[in-house]
Symmetry: C3
Subunit: 292 residues, 3 copies
């Protein structure tokens, strides 16, 4: 693939290829890139996990990584995003990993740009590398997606992760249920009844409560959210023995999940981060191999 | 050369050497440095293009690059610039690429410091690596500078680029005309009549309108500037077939140049950025080769 | 050693090992690390010297260095320090060099974390890599610590360096005297009489006056401080011929030390910074060798 913009663009066989290649990297495979490529991580919104995970993946692949500082970039002098990325292209950057607050920012880069774009998150849109590492973690656990019951719980309407994941999981044969406060369901159908979904669920995918987006319409405290919609110890105890818990992080402890459950037996939260590096190696390799 | 501070310091044969070596790098030549050198890019003013271009050049030369964060540096605790650079020297840095808001900041580093300084822009003073890449781009196009008519258009009085380029171009035999609003001409003679200069011009060097410097004395809107002093499509059409357009970027589209002309046939704007990496490789190599 | 948190944790033989290994690195020894390790410099407080010194040491050891930007990290989204460091562990980081404004921040990382921590400064607590480079510089000069008279002068109560150094120097057999304004002595005994200590002193360790901590209770101007408690030329002239001057920097010139003395014959200030790189190579190697 030339770019990775949205999970919508990926065929099932492309997803499978990424997941298989990530497994090979996890088992120690070496990069198949035969040229010295240069990438840059262009993050206009804060990120620790995604950015550092890509940084690690890039070093493991032996890439040159040019530091980009959004806080002092020429976009502050009014430069268009197109001109900024065209500049990176001119300098010799092969691929850009980008996060930007604007939904589908990459549309304005769709013509005239010869840098590969890997979307590291666009506004309330997509976050495909997170989706792919989530898929990897589920596949690693269950072998396949067919018939799995996945419960995505939290701020569904504002979540990049929820959108990306729901689309991909359904394409792969899983059954997705959203659990959230009714005012947060956005375009999706949802339930707010944990007891109804717990006995069926194979994977609980928790979303981060984005306090920064909910200051005005706050209708419940953190504690109230936790009691009504969070994963409490009591709910954890009702899960199937084979069920697992996932969270993209950063975690609000004792809000979307009880603090004691973060490293519990069913939690794959830090495992997801481990897997993320290998999935991103697969993404980068796949994109860079298509360059001449 | 030990340092690169100002175009004034460069003899014609030194300029020629840099341009020739940049061409060799463009054609695939390898670094002649036989030691592991370390550099740091010390930018006290924002920059995407210049900083990232040097970062790329440094990686292509196989240098170690130490990240320097001006926003969290000890200069915030009142350290002198001399002591900051002396610190880098002590740590083992061989050369510093520096941008600073103070004109000729490097004067206070002229004694006692054994780090090579490459000036990445000082206040309203010089920007020699930009000048050299501009010269490279012109030479690439026309083969020589003798008798070429160069029109430098824009905020002449505040432009580092205008000063550096004018000095060097005249030394090399070109004929330089400044075109700007009369109140922006500073110490230079200028015209504000495009029609007069267009038929003669071989190279239009546009300068960025620095809105941040013109808030108080604003005498025309962006649109008025564009119509009177910018490169419009109508003016473009009057240029000689062999003429080219240059701009150091970042570009204010539809202010100093019509947006549609940024990637027009005569434009060398992104070509300049490509060339910049090779010119900076030549500068770094030349400076580092003089270290023992 | 698995971590380097505080000078209190180091046995005399561990200190000796670091200093000896640093000397070997200074003389050109190569890294004994036989694996590709990855580190990250996680600085929640500004630093030029310490951070860049570690960056250089890391490159000389051939480590991968993942950039961490505290200003855009997920701690801004309320992530706990534990979760941030656990994230780095999951991504594959072997060791973290950390500075944090909280005293003994590393206590909350003492269980559950499998990343080695090298303390780059905690609040008003410890700064062990600075202490070790100070010890190295003294040993380089005098061969041993037994019976040396060390005068630590300045803001003793707020200084990480004073605490770390005093503990270590006494353990190694030196005699430590604090010299400071009475209101700055904190838990330590001190004198404010230079004339009393000058004839005996082998090493003057100056501390930085931290103006940012003394705005409210300012009882003397910079000039008054210099005259009463700073190292003036007159006091310098009373030092023994063999005495040396040290300062951790950044320096307030003409406050804790007369500007003309910064690079005087007895000054080891920039020598300390040179030594710092080799000491930090020894620290990093020692910590990473204990990983499997």
């Amino acid at each position: 693939m030339k770019n990775l913009l949205s999970m919508k663009d990926l065929e099932v066989n492309e997803i499978e290829h990424i997941l298989n290649r990530a497994l090979e990297f996890r088992q120690g495979a070496e990069s198949e890139l035969d040229k010295q490529y240069t990438v840059s991580n262009v993050f206009f919104e804060p990120s620790t996990r995604t950015k550092m995970s890509f940084e690690m993946a890039e070093r493991k692949l032996g890439l040159h990584v040019l530091p980009f500082d959004a806080g002092t970039s020429s976009t502050l002098k009014g430069e268009t995003l197109y001109d900024t990325i065209k500049t990176l292209e001119s300098i010799g950057v092969d691929a850009v990993v980008m996060r930007h607050e604007k939904d589908e920012y990459y549309e304005e880069l769709s013509t005239g740009i010869n840098v590969s774009i890997i979307n590291g998150g666009d506004g309330s849109g997509q976050h495909p590398s997170q989706s792919l590492l989530d898929l990897y973690t589920i596949k690693e656990e269950f072998g396949s997606f067919k018939g799995l019951h996945i419960t995505i719980a939290g701020d569904v309407s504002h979540s990049r992760v929820a959108r990306s994941n729901a689309q991909a999981l359904q394409k792969l044969g899983a059954i997705v249920t959203f659990l959230c406060p009714p005012q947060w369901q956005g375009e999706f159908d949802s339930t707010s009844n944990w007891e109804e979904v717990l006995p069926l669920t194979d994977v609980v995918m928790l979303l981060r409560v984005q306090h920064e987006r909910h200051e005005a319409d706050e209708t419940f405290s953190k504690q109230q959210y936790h009691e009504q919609f969070g994963l409490t110890q009591a709910r954890y105890n009702q899960l199937k023995p084979s069920a697992i818990i996932m969270h993209p992080a950063p975690i609000n402890r004792d809000v979307e999940i009880a603090s004691v459950l973060v490293e519990s037996e069913k939690s794959r939260i830090f495992r997801q981060m481990q897997n993320g590096v290998f999935v991103r190696m697969a993404i980068l390799e796949s994109v860079l191999k298509e360059r001449f």
